[in-house]
Symmetry: C2
Subunit: 326 residues, 2 copies
Protein backbone atom coordinates (compact mmCIF):
# COMPACT_ATOMS: atom_id res chain seq x y z
CA UNK A 1 0.00 0.00 0.00
CA UNK A 2 1.53 3.36 -1.00
CA UNK A 3 2.45 5.69 1.80
CA UNK A 4 -0.24 8.23 1.11
CA UNK A 5 -2.99 5.59 1.12
CA UNK A 6 -1.90 4.66 4.60
CA UNK A 7 -1.84 8.35 5.56
CA UNK A 8 -5.30 8.76 4.01
CA UNK A 9 -6.71 5.91 6.10
CA UNK A 10 -5.09 7.34 9.22
CA UNK A 11 -6.43 10.82 8.46
CA UNK A 12 -9.92 9.45 7.90
CA UNK A 13 -9.61 7.57 11.20
CA UNK A 14 -9.07 10.89 12.96
CA UNK A 15 -5.26 11.06 13.06
CA UNK A 16 -4.57 14.80 13.08
CA UNK A 17 -0.89 14.45 12.21
CA UNK A 18 -1.66 12.25 9.20
CA UNK A 19 -4.20 14.85 8.09
CA UNK A 20 -1.61 17.63 8.45
CA UNK A 21 0.80 15.62 6.26
CA UNK A 22 -1.85 15.25 3.57
CA UNK A 23 -2.52 18.96 3.61
CA UNK A 24 1.20 19.63 3.22
CA UNK A 25 1.15 17.37 0.18
CA UNK A 26 -1.58 19.41 -1.52
CA UNK A 27 -0.05 22.72 -0.42
CA UNK A 28 3.27 21.75 -2.01
CA UNK A 29 1.52 20.80 -5.23
CA UNK A 30 3.31 17.45 -4.96
CA UNK A 31 3.02 15.15 -7.99
CA UNK A 32 1.43 12.56 -5.68
CA UNK A 33 -1.37 15.04 -4.94
CA UNK A 34 -3.36 14.07 -8.03
CA UNK A 35 -3.49 10.46 -6.95
CA UNK A 36 -4.50 11.46 -3.43
CA UNK A 37 -7.31 13.67 -4.71
CA UNK A 38 -8.56 10.87 -6.97
CA UNK A 39 -8.68 8.50 -3.96
CA UNK A 40 -10.51 11.07 -1.85
CA UNK A 41 -13.03 12.12 -4.43
CA UNK A 42 -15.81 9.60 -3.74
CA UNK A 43 -15.82 10.69 -0.08
CA UNK A 44 -16.25 14.40 -0.83
CA UNK A 45 -19.27 16.66 -1.29
CA UNK A 46 -20.73 16.36 2.20
CA UNK A 47 -19.08 19.31 3.98
CA UNK A 48 -20.57 22.78 4.23
CA UNK A 49 -17.95 25.34 3.31
CA UNK A 50 -18.20 28.70 5.06
CA UNK A 51 -16.06 31.64 3.95
CA UNK A 52 -15.23 34.35 6.45
CA UNK A 53 -13.58 37.51 5.22
CA UNK A 54 -13.15 41.19 6.08
CA UNK A 55 -10.49 43.85 6.54
CA UNK A 56 -7.69 43.37 9.07
CA UNK A 57 -8.83 44.32 12.57
CA UNK A 58 -12.53 43.47 12.22
CA UNK A 59 -12.06 40.42 14.47
CA UNK A 60 -12.09 37.52 11.99
CA UNK A 61 -9.97 35.16 14.12
CA UNK A 62 -12.05 35.73 17.25
CA UNK A 63 -15.26 35.27 15.26
CA UNK A 64 -13.87 32.04 13.77
CA UNK A 65 -13.06 30.83 17.28
CA UNK A 66 -16.56 31.70 18.50
CA UNK A 67 -18.14 29.91 15.51
CA UNK A 68 -16.01 26.81 16.11
CA UNK A 69 -17.12 26.75 19.76
CA UNK A 70 -20.79 27.13 18.76
CA UNK A 71 -20.57 24.34 16.17
CA UNK A 72 -18.74 22.07 18.65
CA UNK A 73 -21.43 22.73 21.24
CA UNK A 74 -23.90 21.39 18.67
CA UNK A 75 -21.74 18.26 18.27
CA UNK A 76 -20.44 19.10 14.77
CA UNK A 77 -16.89 18.37 13.53
CA UNK A 78 -15.24 21.60 12.32
CA UNK A 79 -12.11 22.41 10.32
CA UNK A 80 -10.62 25.86 9.81
CA UNK A 81 -8.38 26.89 6.90
CA UNK A 82 -6.84 30.28 7.63
CA UNK A 83 -5.66 31.44 4.21
CA UNK A 84 -3.32 34.34 3.56
CA UNK A 85 -3.01 34.78 -0.20
CA UNK A 86 -0.60 37.68 0.05
CA UNK A 87 2.10 36.48 2.47
CA UNK A 88 4.68 33.80 1.97
CA UNK A 89 4.57 30.88 4.35
CA UNK A 90 6.12 32.02 7.62
CA UNK A 91 6.77 30.80 11.13
CA UNK A 92 4.27 33.41 12.21
CA UNK A 93 1.43 31.54 10.56
CA UNK A 94 2.55 28.35 12.27
CA UNK A 95 2.75 30.12 15.62
CA UNK A 96 -0.78 31.42 15.05
CA UNK A 97 -1.86 27.82 14.55
CA UNK A 98 -0.34 26.71 17.81
CA UNK A 99 -1.94 29.51 19.81
CA UNK A 100 -5.34 28.89 18.23
CA UNK A 101 -4.98 25.15 18.69
CA UNK A 102 -4.44 25.30 22.46
CA UNK A 103 -8.10 25.75 23.21
CA UNK A 104 -9.06 22.79 21.05
CA UNK A 105 -5.80 20.86 21.40
CA UNK A 106 -7.40 17.74 22.83
CA UNK A 107 -10.49 17.92 20.61
CA UNK A 108 -10.08 15.64 17.57
CA UNK A 109 -13.29 17.03 16.09
CA UNK A 110 -11.60 20.42 15.52
CA UNK A 111 -8.77 20.91 13.04
CA UNK A 112 -7.12 24.26 12.38
CA UNK A 113 -4.61 24.93 9.66
CA UNK A 114 -2.95 28.09 8.31
CA UNK A 115 -2.12 28.22 4.63
CA UNK A 116 0.02 30.88 3.02
CA UNK A 117 1.41 31.27 -0.46
CA UNK A 118 4.50 29.16 -1.10
CA UNK A 119 4.96 30.67 -4.50
CA UNK A 120 4.56 27.45 -6.48
CA UNK A 121 2.55 27.23 -9.67
CA UNK A 122 -1.03 28.32 -9.23
CA UNK A 123 -0.28 29.01 -5.56
CA UNK A 124 -3.02 29.11 -2.99
CA UNK A 125 -5.77 29.53 -5.55
CA UNK A 126 -4.93 26.03 -6.79
CA UNK A 127 -4.10 24.49 -3.40
CA UNK A 128 -7.16 25.66 -1.43
CA UNK A 129 -9.79 23.63 -3.35
CA UNK A 130 -7.63 20.51 -2.82
CA UNK A 131 -7.23 21.27 0.90
CA UNK A 132 -11.01 21.61 1.13
CA UNK A 133 -11.41 18.19 -0.54
CA UNK A 134 -9.01 16.61 1.97
CA UNK A 135 -10.91 18.04 4.97
CA UNK A 136 -14.26 17.17 3.39
CA UNK A 137 -13.17 13.55 2.85
CA UNK A 138 -11.80 13.43 6.41
CA UNK A 139 -15.35 13.90 7.62
CA UNK A 140 -15.45 17.50 8.80
CA UNK A 141 -19.07 18.63 8.49
CA UNK A 142 -18.14 22.30 8.50
CA UNK A 143 -15.08 23.86 6.91
CA UNK A 144 -14.46 27.51 7.69
CA UNK A 145 -12.15 29.33 5.27
CA UNK A 146 -10.89 32.48 6.93
CA UNK A 147 -9.02 34.96 4.74
CA UNK A 148 -6.80 37.86 5.71
CA UNK A 149 -7.55 41.29 4.22
CA UNK A 150 -9.98 42.35 1.48
CA UNK A 151 -8.13 42.24 -1.85
CA UNK A 152 -8.96 40.48 -5.12
CA UNK A 153 -7.23 37.32 -3.90
CA UNK A 154 -9.41 37.25 -0.79
CA UNK A 155 -12.54 37.62 -2.89
CA UNK A 156 -11.37 34.70 -5.03
CA UNK A 157 -10.76 32.52 -1.97
CA UNK A 158 -14.07 33.56 -0.39
CA UNK A 159 -15.89 32.51 -3.55
CA UNK A 160 -14.74 28.92 -2.92
CA UNK A 161 -17.27 28.79 -0.06
CA UNK A 162 -20.93 27.79 -0.15
CA UNK A 163 -21.80 30.60 2.26
CA UNK A 164 -19.72 33.77 2.49
CA UNK A 165 -19.76 35.79 5.70
CA UNK A 166 -18.37 39.33 5.40
CA UNK A 167 -17.27 40.91 8.66
CA UNK A 168 -17.20 44.66 9.24
CA UNK A 169 -16.52 46.65 12.38
CA UNK A 170 -16.77 50.30 13.46
CA UNK A 171 -13.71 52.23 12.40
CA UNK A 172 -12.15 49.25 10.61
CA UNK A 173 -12.63 48.26 7.02
CA UNK A 174 -15.80 50.21 6.39
CA UNK A 175 -18.45 49.32 3.83
CA UNK A 176 -16.96 51.61 1.19
CA UNK A 177 -13.63 49.80 1.40
CA UNK A 178 -15.37 46.43 1.15
CA UNK A 179 -17.34 47.69 -1.85
CA UNK A 180 -14.15 48.78 -3.60
CA UNK A 181 -12.67 45.32 -3.14
CA UNK A 182 -15.79 43.80 -4.68
CA UNK A 183 -16.48 41.82 -1.52
CA UNK A 184 -20.07 43.03 -1.01
CA UNK A 185 -21.13 41.16 -4.16
CA UNK A 186 -19.96 37.80 -2.81
CA UNK A 187 -21.49 38.19 0.67
CA UNK A 188 -24.36 35.96 1.80
CA UNK A 189 -24.41 37.27 5.37
CA UNK A 190 -23.03 40.53 6.77
CA UNK A 191 -21.86 40.68 10.35
CA UNK A 192 -21.12 44.04 11.94
CA UNK A 193 -18.77 42.92 14.69
CA UNK A 194 -17.78 44.82 17.83
CA UNK A 195 -21.43 45.84 18.16
CA UNK A 196 -20.71 47.17 21.65
CA UNK A 197 -18.74 50.06 20.12
CA UNK A 198 -20.65 53.36 19.71
CA UNK A 199 -20.42 53.58 15.89
CA UNK A 200 -21.71 50.07 15.18
CA UNK A 201 -25.22 51.20 14.21
CA UNK A 202 -23.73 53.73 11.82
CA UNK A 203 -21.84 50.91 10.05
CA UNK A 204 -25.14 49.00 9.79
CA UNK A 205 -26.87 52.06 8.26
CA UNK A 206 -24.01 52.71 5.80
CA UNK A 207 -24.04 49.09 4.75
CA UNK A 208 -27.83 49.07 4.33
CA UNK A 209 -27.69 52.19 2.15
CA UNK A 210 -24.95 50.68 0.05
CA UNK A 211 -26.79 47.39 -0.39
CA UNK A 212 -29.95 49.26 -1.40
CA UNK A 213 -28.03 50.28 -4.52
CA UNK A 214 -27.49 46.66 -5.54
CA UNK A 215 -29.93 44.04 -6.73
CA UNK A 216 -30.33 40.51 -5.45
CA UNK A 217 -31.89 38.38 -8.11
CA UNK A 218 -30.94 35.06 -6.61
CA UNK A 219 -33.79 34.91 -4.10
CA UNK A 220 -31.55 35.42 -1.08
CA UNK A 221 -31.24 38.88 0.43
CA UNK A 222 -28.08 38.98 2.53
CA UNK A 223 -29.06 39.80 6.12
CA UNK A 224 -27.08 42.26 8.23
CA UNK A 225 -26.59 41.11 11.80
CA UNK A 226 -24.63 42.63 14.68
CA UNK A 227 -22.36 40.64 16.92
CA UNK A 228 -19.61 40.84 19.50
CA UNK A 229 -17.24 37.94 19.22
CA UNK A 230 -15.16 37.61 22.38
CA UNK A 231 -14.72 33.85 22.49
CA UNK A 232 -16.26 33.55 25.94
CA UNK A 233 -19.33 34.43 27.97
CA UNK A 234 -19.37 37.95 26.50
CA UNK A 235 -20.20 36.57 23.02
CA UNK A 236 -23.19 38.24 21.41
CA UNK A 237 -24.90 37.37 18.15
CA UNK A 238 -23.00 34.13 17.48
CA UNK A 239 -26.15 32.05 17.92
CA UNK A 240 -27.92 34.29 15.39
CA UNK A 241 -25.04 33.90 12.92
CA UNK A 242 -25.29 30.11 13.25
CA UNK A 243 -29.07 30.32 12.68
CA UNK A 244 -28.58 32.51 9.59
CA UNK A 245 -25.91 30.15 8.25
CA UNK A 246 -28.27 27.20 8.69
CA UNK A 247 -31.04 29.14 6.93
CA UNK A 248 -28.67 29.96 4.07
CA UNK A 249 -27.69 26.31 3.79
CA UNK A 250 -31.35 25.30 3.62
CA UNK A 251 -31.96 27.89 0.91
CA UNK A 252 -28.84 26.75 -1.01
CA UNK A 253 -29.90 23.11 -1.07
CA UNK A 254 -33.61 23.67 -1.71
CA UNK A 255 -33.25 26.31 -4.43
CA UNK A 256 -30.65 24.38 -6.43
CA UNK A 257 -28.23 27.24 -5.85
CA UNK A 258 -25.76 24.91 -4.09
CA UNK A 259 -25.43 22.76 -7.18
CA UNK A 260 -25.17 25.85 -9.38
CA UNK A 261 -22.43 27.33 -7.20
CA UNK A 262 -20.46 24.12 -6.97
CA UNK A 263 -20.59 23.64 -10.74
CA UNK A 264 -19.48 27.23 -11.29
CA UNK A 265 -16.57 26.61 -8.91
CA UNK A 266 -15.65 23.39 -10.69
CA UNK A 267 -15.71 25.27 -14.00
CA UNK A 268 -13.31 27.87 -12.66
CA UNK A 269 -11.04 25.27 -11.10
CA UNK A 270 -10.80 23.17 -14.27
CA UNK A 271 -10.19 26.27 -16.40
CA UNK A 272 -7.46 27.54 -14.05
CA UNK A 273 -5.73 24.14 -14.05
CA UNK A 274 -5.84 23.88 -17.84
CA UNK A 275 -4.42 27.39 -18.25
CA UNK A 276 -1.72 26.77 -15.64
CA UNK A 277 -0.67 23.62 -17.49
CA UNK A 278 -0.59 25.53 -20.79
CA UNK A 279 1.53 28.29 -19.21
CA UNK A 280 4.05 25.60 -18.21
CA UNK A 281 4.18 24.27 -21.76
CA UNK A 282 4.55 27.79 -23.17
CA UNK A 283 7.44 28.55 -20.79
CA UNK A 284 9.18 25.34 -21.83
CA UNK A 285 8.86 25.61 -25.61
CA UNK A 286 8.05 29.12 -26.79
CA UNK A 287 11.61 30.47 -27.09
CA UNK A 288 12.69 27.74 -29.47
CA UNK A 289 9.52 28.03 -31.56
CA UNK A 290 9.65 31.86 -31.64
CA UNK A 291 13.02 31.75 -33.37
CA UNK A 292 11.49 29.62 -36.14
CA UNK A 293 8.49 31.92 -36.55
CA UNK A 294 10.62 35.08 -36.54
CA UNK A 295 12.84 33.59 -39.23
CA UNK A 296 9.83 32.65 -41.38
CA UNK A 297 10.58 28.92 -41.11
CA UNK A 298 7.55 28.00 -39.01
CA UNK A 299 4.07 29.48 -39.16
CA UNK A 300 2.65 30.79 -35.88
CA UNK A 301 -0.38 28.48 -35.96
CA UNK A 302 1.83 25.42 -36.27
CA UNK A 303 3.96 26.76 -33.40
CA UNK A 304 0.87 27.25 -31.22
CA UNK A 305 -0.26 23.71 -32.07
CA UNK A 306 3.09 22.33 -31.01
CA UNK A 307 2.69 23.94 -27.61
CA UNK A 308 -0.96 23.05 -27.14
CA UNK A 309 -0.67 19.49 -28.46
CA UNK A 310 2.93 18.43 -27.91
CA UNK A 311 2.08 14.76 -28.33
CA UNK A 312 1.11 15.26 -31.97
CA UNK A 313 4.74 15.16 -32.85
CA UNK A 314 5.38 12.19 -30.59
CA UNK A 315 2.55 10.35 -32.29
CA UNK A 316 4.11 11.03 -35.64
CA UNK A 317 7.47 9.86 -34.35
CA UNK A 318 5.93 6.70 -32.99
CA UNK A 319 4.15 6.15 -36.25
CA UNK A 320 7.39 6.63 -38.13
CA UNK A 321 9.07 4.19 -35.78
CA UNK A 322 6.34 1.65 -36.32
CA UNK A 323 6.61 1.91 -40.05
CA UNK A 324 10.38 1.64 -39.90
CA UNK A 325 10.20 -1.46 -37.76
CA UNK A 326 7.28 -2.97 -39.68
Amino acid sequence: MPDHKHALDQALAGDTRALARMLSLVEDGSPRMREVIRELLPRTGQARIIGLTGAPGVGKSTMTGALVAAFRAAGRRVAVLAVDPTSPFTGGALLGDRIRMQEHATDEAVFIRSMASRGHLGGLAAATPQAIRVLDAAGFELIIIETVGVGQAEVAIASLADSVVVLLAPGMGDAVQAAKAGILEVADIFVVNKADKPDAQQVVRDLRNMLALGTFEQGWKPPIITATAAQGPKDEGIAELVTRLDAHWTWLTESGELERRRRARAREEITALAFAALRERVAKKVDELAAGVADGKLDPFQAADEILDPQDRQQDEQKDLRYTRG
Copy 2:
Protein backbone atom coordinates in the same frame (compact mmCIF):
# COMPACT_ATOMS: atom_id res chain seq x y z
CA MET B 1 -4.93 25.15 -58.03
CA PRO B 2 -6.97 26.28 -55.02
CA ASP B 3 -8.63 29.67 -55.26
CA HIS B 4 -6.42 31.36 -52.71
CA LYS B 5 -3.21 30.23 -54.43
CA HIS B 6 -4.43 31.94 -57.54
CA ALA B 7 -5.33 35.04 -55.46
CA LEU B 8 -1.89 34.90 -53.87
CA ASP B 9 -0.14 34.86 -57.23
CA GLN B 10 -2.31 37.74 -58.42
CA ALA B 11 -1.64 39.72 -55.25
CA LEU B 12 2.10 39.15 -55.60
CA ALA B 13 1.84 40.27 -59.22
CA GLY B 14 0.48 43.61 -58.01
CA ASP B 15 -3.28 43.02 -58.28
CA THR B 16 -4.72 45.31 -55.60
CA ARG B 17 -8.14 43.67 -55.57
CA ALA B 18 -6.64 40.21 -55.09
CA LEU B 19 -4.58 41.61 -52.23
CA ALA B 20 -7.69 43.11 -50.65
CA ARG B 21 -9.42 39.72 -50.84
CA MET B 22 -6.48 38.06 -49.10
CA LEU B 23 -6.61 40.64 -46.33
CA SER B 24 -10.33 39.99 -45.89
CA LEU B 25 -9.48 36.30 -45.50
CA VAL B 26 -7.08 36.96 -42.64
CA GLU B 27 -9.36 39.58 -41.07
CA ASP B 28 -12.23 37.09 -40.99
CA GLY B 29 -10.01 34.48 -39.35
CA SER B 30 -11.09 32.15 -42.18
CA PRO B 31 -10.04 28.50 -41.81
CA ARG B 32 -8.15 28.85 -45.12
CA MET B 33 -6.03 31.59 -43.56
CA ARG B 34 -3.60 29.11 -42.03
CA GLU B 35 -2.84 27.60 -45.40
CA VAL B 36 -2.42 31.03 -46.95
CA ILE B 37 0.00 32.12 -44.23
CA ARG B 38 2.01 28.93 -44.66
CA GLU B 39 2.31 29.62 -48.40
CA LEU B 40 3.35 33.21 -47.79
CA LEU B 41 5.86 32.53 -45.06
CA PRO B 42 9.00 32.00 -47.16
CA ARG B 43 8.42 35.39 -48.82
CA THR B 44 8.15 37.34 -45.55
CA GLY B 45 10.67 39.08 -43.31
CA GLN B 46 11.81 41.75 -45.77
CA ALA B 47 9.43 44.62 -44.93
CA ARG B 48 10.14 47.37 -42.42
CA ILE B 49 7.16 47.81 -40.14
CA ILE B 50 6.53 51.30 -38.83
CA GLY B 51 3.97 51.93 -36.11
CA LEU B 52 2.34 55.34 -35.85
CA THR B 53 0.21 56.14 -32.84
CA GLY B 54 -1.04 59.05 -30.76
CA ALA B 55 -4.21 60.55 -29.33
CA PRO B 56 -7.10 61.51 -31.63
CA GLY B 57 -6.54 64.93 -33.19
CA VAL B 58 -2.73 64.91 -33.27
CA GLY B 59 -2.79 64.45 -37.05
CA LYS B 60 -1.91 60.79 -37.53
CA SER B 61 -3.71 60.38 -40.86
CA THR B 62 -2.13 63.48 -42.36
CA MET B 63 1.29 62.39 -41.09
CA THR B 64 0.75 58.94 -42.59
CA GLY B 65 -0.14 60.55 -45.90
CA ALA B 66 2.97 62.74 -45.79
CA LEU B 67 5.17 59.73 -44.96
CA VAL B 68 3.66 57.72 -47.83
CA ALA B 69 4.39 60.59 -50.22
CA ALA B 70 7.98 60.86 -48.96
CA PHE B 71 8.60 57.11 -49.31
CA ARG B 72 7.02 57.08 -52.78
CA ALA B 73 9.25 59.99 -53.82
CA ALA B 74 12.18 57.74 -52.87
CA GLY B 75 10.74 54.97 -55.06
CA ARG B 76 9.68 52.68 -52.25
CA ARG B 77 6.51 50.54 -52.22
CA VAL B 78 4.37 51.40 -49.19
CA ALA B 79 1.36 49.80 -47.52
CA VAL B 80 -0.73 51.35 -44.75
CA LEU B 81 -2.83 49.41 -42.24
CA ALA B 82 -5.10 51.81 -40.33
CA VAL B 83 -6.15 49.80 -37.30
CA ASP B 84 -8.96 50.71 -34.93
CA PRO B 85 -8.96 48.16 -32.12
CA THR B 86 -11.93 49.73 -30.34
CA SER B 87 -14.54 50.14 -33.06
CA PRO B 88 -16.49 47.50 -34.90
CA PHE B 89 -16.07 47.40 -38.65
CA THR B 90 -18.14 50.21 -40.10
CA GLY B 91 -18.90 51.85 -43.38
CA GLY B 92 -17.02 54.83 -41.98
CA ALA B 93 -13.75 52.99 -42.08
CA LEU B 94 -14.40 51.96 -45.65
CA LEU B 95 -15.29 55.52 -46.59
CA GLY B 96 -12.03 56.66 -44.97
CA ASP B 97 -10.22 54.20 -47.21
CA ARG B 98 -11.82 55.56 -50.31
CA ILE B 99 -11.02 59.16 -49.45
CA ARG B 100 -7.43 58.33 -48.60
CA MET B 101 -7.05 56.20 -51.70
CA GLN B 102 -7.99 58.93 -54.14
CA GLU B 103 -4.61 60.55 -53.99
CA HIS B 104 -2.82 57.27 -54.68
CA ALA B 105 -5.63 55.58 -56.60
CA THR B 106 -3.60 54.96 -59.71
CA ASP B 107 -0.39 54.10 -57.85
CA GLU B 108 0.00 50.32 -57.52
CA ALA B 109 2.98 50.82 -55.23
CA VAL B 110 0.73 52.23 -52.50
CA PHE B 111 -1.87 50.13 -50.71
CA ILE B 112 -4.10 51.46 -47.93
CA ARG B 113 -6.41 49.36 -45.81
CA SER B 114 -8.53 50.07 -42.74
CA MET B 115 -8.98 47.28 -40.24
CA ALA B 116 -11.46 47.37 -37.37
CA SER B 117 -12.55 44.77 -34.89
CA ARG B 118 -15.08 42.32 -36.29
CA GLY B 119 -15.51 40.70 -32.93
CA HIS B 120 -14.25 37.24 -33.92
CA LEU B 121 -11.92 35.18 -31.77
CA GLY B 122 -8.69 36.96 -30.97
CA GLY B 123 -9.92 39.94 -32.99
CA LEU B 124 -7.51 42.47 -34.39
CA ALA B 125 -4.67 41.44 -32.14
CA ALA B 126 -4.65 38.09 -33.95
CA ALA B 127 -5.47 39.41 -37.44
CA THR B 128 -2.94 42.25 -37.62
CA PRO B 129 0.23 40.09 -37.62
CA GLN B 130 -1.28 38.01 -40.44
CA ALA B 131 -2.21 41.13 -42.41
CA ILE B 132 1.38 42.31 -42.00
CA ARG B 133 2.64 38.96 -43.36
CA VAL B 134 0.37 39.28 -46.42
CA LEU B 135 1.62 42.80 -47.22
CA ASP B 136 5.23 41.78 -46.51
CA ALA B 137 4.95 38.82 -48.91
CA ALA B 138 3.28 41.05 -51.50
CA GLY B 139 6.51 43.01 -51.67
CA PHE B 140 5.76 46.22 -49.82
CA GLU B 141 9.07 47.48 -48.47
CA LEU B 142 7.43 49.66 -45.85
CA ILE B 143 4.30 48.87 -43.89
CA ILE B 144 2.87 51.66 -41.78
CA ILE B 145 0.50 50.59 -39.01
CA GLU B 146 -1.54 53.57 -37.92
CA THR B 147 -3.66 53.18 -34.79
CA VAL B 148 -6.50 55.31 -33.50
CA GLY B 149 -6.33 56.59 -29.92
CA VAL B 150 -3.92 55.76 -27.09
CA GLY B 151 -5.35 52.87 -25.07
CA GLN B 152 -3.84 49.51 -24.10
CA ALA B 153 -5.02 47.99 -27.38
CA GLU B 154 -3.20 50.69 -29.34
CA VAL B 155 0.00 50.05 -27.40
CA ALA B 156 -0.33 46.34 -28.21
CA ILE B 157 -0.80 47.05 -31.91
CA ALA B 158 2.06 49.58 -31.94
CA SER B 159 4.36 46.97 -30.43
CA LEU B 160 3.93 44.88 -33.59
CA ALA B 161 6.13 47.41 -35.39
CA ASP B 162 9.90 47.46 -35.75
CA SER B 163 9.94 51.24 -35.24
CA VAL B 164 7.25 53.01 -33.24
CA VAL B 165 6.54 56.68 -33.91
CA VAL B 166 4.50 58.45 -31.22
CA LEU B 167 2.77 61.63 -32.34
CA LEU B 168 1.89 64.47 -29.99
CA ALA B 169 0.48 67.90 -30.69
CA PRO B 170 -0.12 71.11 -28.73
CA GLY B 171 -3.40 70.93 -26.85
CA MET B 172 -4.13 67.37 -27.99
CA GLY B 173 -3.12 64.21 -26.22
CA ASP B 174 -0.34 65.69 -24.13
CA ALA B 175 2.67 63.79 -22.82
CA VAL B 176 1.02 63.02 -19.49
CA GLN B 177 -1.86 61.29 -21.25
CA ALA B 178 0.54 59.30 -23.41
CA ALA B 179 2.51 58.34 -20.30
CA LYS B 180 -0.64 57.08 -18.60
CA ALA B 181 -1.44 54.87 -21.56
CA GLY B 182 2.09 53.41 -21.38
CA ILE B 183 2.82 54.60 -24.90
CA LEU B 184 6.03 56.52 -24.07
CA GLU B 185 7.74 53.23 -23.22
CA VAL B 186 7.18 51.79 -26.69
CA ALA B 187 8.23 54.91 -28.63
CA ASP B 188 11.37 54.90 -30.77
CA ILE B 189 10.80 58.38 -32.20
CA PHE B 190 8.64 61.22 -30.88
CA VAL B 191 7.12 63.70 -33.27
CA VAL B 192 5.54 66.88 -31.94
CA ASN B 193 3.22 67.66 -34.81
CA LYS B 194 1.54 70.98 -35.61
CA ALA B 195 4.85 72.66 -34.76
CA ASP B 196 3.52 75.93 -36.19
CA LYS B 197 1.18 76.26 -33.21
CA PRO B 198 2.38 78.47 -30.34
CA ASP B 199 2.51 75.78 -27.63
CA ALA B 200 4.54 73.26 -29.62
CA GLN B 201 7.83 74.03 -27.85
CA GLN B 202 6.09 73.59 -24.49
CA VAL B 203 5.03 70.08 -25.55
CA VAL B 204 8.66 69.35 -26.49
CA ARG B 205 9.86 70.56 -23.07
CA ASP B 206 7.20 68.58 -21.18
CA LEU B 207 8.08 65.48 -23.14
CA ARG B 208 11.81 65.96 -22.55
CA ASN B 209 11.25 66.35 -18.80
CA MET B 210 9.11 63.25 -18.71
CA LEU B 211 11.62 61.20 -20.70
CA ALA B 212 14.41 62.32 -18.38
CA LEU B 213 12.66 60.29 -15.67
CA GLY B 214 12.98 57.08 -17.67
CA THR B 215 16.01 55.04 -18.62
CA PHE B 216 17.01 53.80 -22.05
CA GLU B 217 19.23 50.81 -21.67
CA GLN B 218 18.83 49.54 -25.20
CA GLY B 219 21.36 51.91 -26.75
CA TRP B 220 18.77 53.97 -28.62
CA LYS B 221 17.63 57.23 -27.11
CA PRO B 222 14.31 58.18 -28.73
CA PRO B 223 14.73 61.56 -30.46
CA ILE B 224 12.08 64.26 -30.24
CA ILE B 225 11.47 66.04 -33.52
CA THR B 226 8.99 68.70 -34.52
CA ALA B 227 6.93 68.59 -37.69
CA THR B 228 3.97 70.02 -39.50
CA ALA B 229 2.27 67.46 -41.64
CA ALA B 230 -0.01 69.12 -44.17
CA GLN B 231 0.31 66.69 -47.08
CA GLY B 232 1.52 69.32 -49.45
CA PRO B 233 4.12 72.04 -49.94
CA LYS B 234 3.62 73.25 -46.34
CA ASP B 235 5.04 69.97 -44.95
CA GLU B 236 7.78 70.49 -42.38
CA GLY B 237 9.94 67.90 -40.68
CA ILE B 238 8.83 64.93 -42.78
CA ALA B 239 12.29 64.56 -44.32
CA GLU B 240 13.80 64.53 -40.83
CA LEU B 241 11.32 61.87 -39.71
CA VAL B 242 12.34 59.72 -42.69
CA THR B 243 16.02 60.22 -41.83
CA ARG B 244 15.39 59.27 -38.19
CA LEU B 245 13.42 56.21 -39.25
CA ASP B 246 16.29 55.13 -41.52
CA ALA B 247 18.76 55.66 -38.66
CA HIS B 248 16.57 53.61 -36.35
CA TRP B 249 16.40 50.83 -38.92
CA THR B 250 20.18 50.82 -39.24
CA TRP B 251 20.51 50.63 -35.45
CA LEU B 252 17.92 47.84 -35.27
CA THR B 253 19.70 45.67 -37.81
CA GLU B 254 23.26 46.35 -36.64
CA SER B 255 22.62 45.99 -32.91
CA GLY B 256 20.71 42.73 -33.20
CA GLU B 257 17.69 44.50 -31.69
CA LEU B 258 15.60 43.76 -34.80
CA GLU B 259 16.04 40.03 -34.33
CA ARG B 260 15.36 40.36 -30.60
CA ARG B 261 12.16 42.33 -31.21
CA ARG B 262 10.89 40.01 -33.90
CA ARG B 263 11.47 36.98 -31.70
CA ALA B 264 9.71 38.66 -28.78
CA ARG B 265 6.79 39.39 -31.10
CA ALA B 266 6.72 35.80 -32.33
CA ARG B 267 6.71 34.62 -28.71
CA GLU B 268 3.70 36.78 -27.92
CA GLU B 269 1.89 35.76 -31.08
CA ILE B 270 2.40 32.03 -30.49
CA THR B 271 1.37 32.35 -26.85
CA ALA B 272 -1.77 34.32 -27.75
CA LEU B 273 -2.76 31.75 -30.39
CA ALA B 274 -2.23 28.84 -28.00
CA PHE B 275 -4.31 30.51 -25.29
CA ALA B 276 -7.05 31.45 -27.77
CA ALA B 277 -7.23 27.83 -28.91
CA LEU B 278 -7.41 26.66 -25.29
CA ARG B 279 -10.19 29.16 -24.56
CA GLU B 280 -12.18 27.61 -27.43
CA ARG B 281 -11.69 24.13 -26.01
CA VAL B 282 -12.67 25.31 -22.52
CA ALA B 283 -15.85 26.93 -23.83
CA LYS B 284 -16.77 23.73 -25.66
CA LYS B 285 -16.16 21.23 -22.88
CA VAL B 286 -16.02 22.82 -19.43
CA ASP B 287 -19.74 22.73 -18.59
CA GLU B 288 -20.01 19.00 -19.09
CA LEU B 289 -16.79 18.33 -17.16
CA ALA B 290 -17.71 20.74 -14.32
CA ALA B 291 -20.84 18.71 -13.56
CA GLY B 292 -18.67 15.61 -13.09
CA VAL B 293 -16.18 17.43 -10.85
CA ALA B 294 -18.92 19.04 -8.75
CA ASP B 295 -20.54 15.63 -8.27
CA GLY B 296 -17.23 14.06 -7.20
CA LYS B 297 -17.18 11.69 -10.20
CA LEU B 298 -14.21 13.28 -11.97
CA ASP B 299 -11.13 14.85 -10.46
CA PRO B 300 -10.31 18.39 -11.58
CA PHE B 301 -6.86 17.44 -12.91
CA GLN B 302 -8.33 14.79 -15.15
CA ALA B 303 -10.95 17.29 -16.31
CA ALA B 304 -8.23 19.86 -17.12
CA ASP B 305 -6.31 17.17 -19.02
CA GLU B 306 -9.37 16.35 -21.08
CA ILE B 307 -9.62 19.96 -22.15
CA LEU B 308 -5.92 20.49 -22.77
CA ASP B 309 -5.32 17.14 -24.49
CA PRO B 310 -8.64 16.06 -25.96
CA GLN B 311 -6.95 13.51 -28.22
CA ASP B 312 -5.78 11.43 -25.25
CA ARG B 313 -9.18 9.88 -25.05
CA GLN B 314 -9.34 9.38 -28.80
CA GLN B 315 -5.99 7.63 -28.66
CA ASP B 316 -7.26 5.31 -25.98
CA GLU B 317 -10.39 4.63 -27.99
CA GLN B 318 -8.33 3.86 -31.07
CA LYS B 319 -6.09 1.61 -29.00
CA ASP B 320 -9.12 -0.20 -27.63
CA LEU B 321 -10.45 -0.57 -31.14
CA ARG B 322 -7.17 -1.98 -32.35
CA TYR B 323 -7.04 -4.54 -29.57
CA THR B 324 -10.64 -5.54 -30.19
CA ARG B 325 -10.00 -5.99 -33.87
CA GLY B 326 -6.65 -7.66 -33.38
